[in-house]
Symmetry: C2
Subunit: 248 residues, 2 copies
Amino acid sequence: MDRWSTPLLLDQRSKSVKMSFMTTPAPRTPRRSDALSRERIVEAAIEVLDTAGESGLTVRAVTAHLSTGRGAIYHHVTNKDELLAAAADGVISQVMATAVGDEDPRRAVRALALGIFDAIDDHPWVGTQLPRDPLQPAVLQIWRNLGVQLHHLGVAGTALSDAGSALVNYILGAAAQHAAGARRVPDDAARKDHLGRIAAQWAQLDAHPLMRESAALLHEHDDRAQFLAGVDIFLAGVLHRKGGTAPL
Amino acid sequence: MDRWSTPLLLDQRSKSVKMSFMTTPAPRTPRRSDALSRERIVEAAIEVLDTAGESGLTVRAVTAHLSTGRGAIYHHVTNKDELLAAAADGVISQVMATAVGDEDPRRAVRALALGIFDAIDDHPWVGTQLPRDPLQPAVLQIWRNLGVQLHHLGVAGTALSDAGSALVNYILGAAAQHAAGARRVPDDAARKDHLGRIAAQWAQLDAHPLMRESAALLHEHDDRAQFLAGVDIFLAGVLHRKGGTAPL
DNA sequence: ACCTGAACACCGTTCAAGT
DNA sequence: ACCTGAACACCGTTCAAGT
C-alpha cells in the first residue's frame, strides 16, 4: 500500500559494512551515505516541487538535492514525466490513507474530495499534474476510492462508469483551476488584492452583466466551499437520476 | 467577437501598395509577401499544433512556417504561453460561434458542451491547454456562454457561481482526460486494441472487483456518450437543488 | 517600426568510462 | 550493478544590428 515508509536498501548497506572490514576503515567519500533508490528520488522530487514549484523540477535540481550525477536518476526512473507522476502519486497516496472510514458514503465522498482539494492547496503542482494523464497511478487511485463509495450509494454498471467519470473529471478540473490560483497567490495577505484584480479583469474583458455579477461575487468567494458545492450538485444529480432518494 | 474571420491588415497592405507606386516595382524579396501580425502568427501556431502536436509547438517551428526570424514572434506575442492560449481561444471562438441559438437552455448547455468536446477531439492540444489557466480567454468564453444558459434556467447569484464553476470544471477535466486519450490513439482502427490494453492495465494494476468491472466496460465504451451523461448529471443536480423542476 | 539571426542560458537524455 | 559527468541535441528568449 504505502510505498513511502519501507526501510531502504538494507541488503546493500550491510554488504558495504562487510567489505570495510577487510579494507581501510571506511573510504570517507564526500558523497551521501545512503544508496540511491526510486523512493529516495521521488522524495527528493517532492521536496524540490514543494519549494521551487513545477518549473523548478529539473533533473539537475534533483541530482543536486541528492548530490549525485545526472544519469543516476535514469537507473531508477525512466522519465521526468514518470517522476512527476510518481511524486503526485506519493501525495495522493497519503491523502487516501488518511481520508478513510466514514460509514455514510455521501460523507465519505465529500471527505475524499476535500482531502484532494487540501492536498492540492498544499502542493499546487499536483493539481496541474493530475489532469495530464488519465492512467497515472494517482488518478487510478482516486477513481477506485470514489468508485467504491458510489457503489455503496447503490450505483452500478454503466451508471457507475458515468457517475465515476463525471466525479473524477470534475475533481480534476477543479484541482487544476484551484492549483493555478494557489500557484499565483502564495501568501494569504495578497489574496484579497488578487481577487480584486481578477474581478476587474473579468469586468473589463467582458461587458456581459452576468459576468460582471460573477466578478463582483469573486470578492467574498471561498474556493473550498465552492468546490464542495460542486460535489453536492454532482451527488444530487446522481441520486436524483437513480430514483428519488432523500434530498441532501 | 470573432477575431479569426476579420480580414487581415488592410491598412498595412494598402500602405505598401501606395509606397510601391513611387519606388521600384516591388522589391521582390525572397521573404513571404504578407506582413507579420498577431493573427497570422496564431494561425500558424494552430497549424503547427494540429500537425505536430503540443510538443511540436516550438518558436522555431512557427518561424519556419512563416519563414521569418525567431525574434519576430516577440514583436507580436509576449510569450509562448500566450501564443498557446491564443491558439486555444481561436478554436473555442469558432465553437462558440457555431453552437449558438437553441431556445431550450438545457439543450443549449448540451450543445455547447458537445461542441467543446468535438473541438478537443479534433485538436487534442486544446484539451490539455484549457485546464492550465482559469483566466485565459478561451476559459472565460466558455464560462460566459454556459453562465448565460444557466441563468436562463433560473439559477442566479451564488447558486449561479457554484453551478457555473461546477460545470466548467467538469468540462475542463473531461476535456483533459479525453485529449490524453485522443492524443495517444490517432487512428480509429487501433482504438479497440488501445481500450483492450487499458482494460488489461487496469485489471493488472488494481485487483478491486469494482475496477475490474469498470475495466471490462471500457471495451464498449463511448467517450462522447459518457461525457454527455456527465453533463446531464450536473444539470439534474442543479435543477434538483433549486426545487423540483421537471426531470430530464 | 519591424524584422533578423547569432548568442545566451538553460533544458532532458545518453553513454563511455569508472568503481 | 551502480554511478559519474561530459557530450549531444535540443529549447525559449534577448538584443545589437540591419532595413
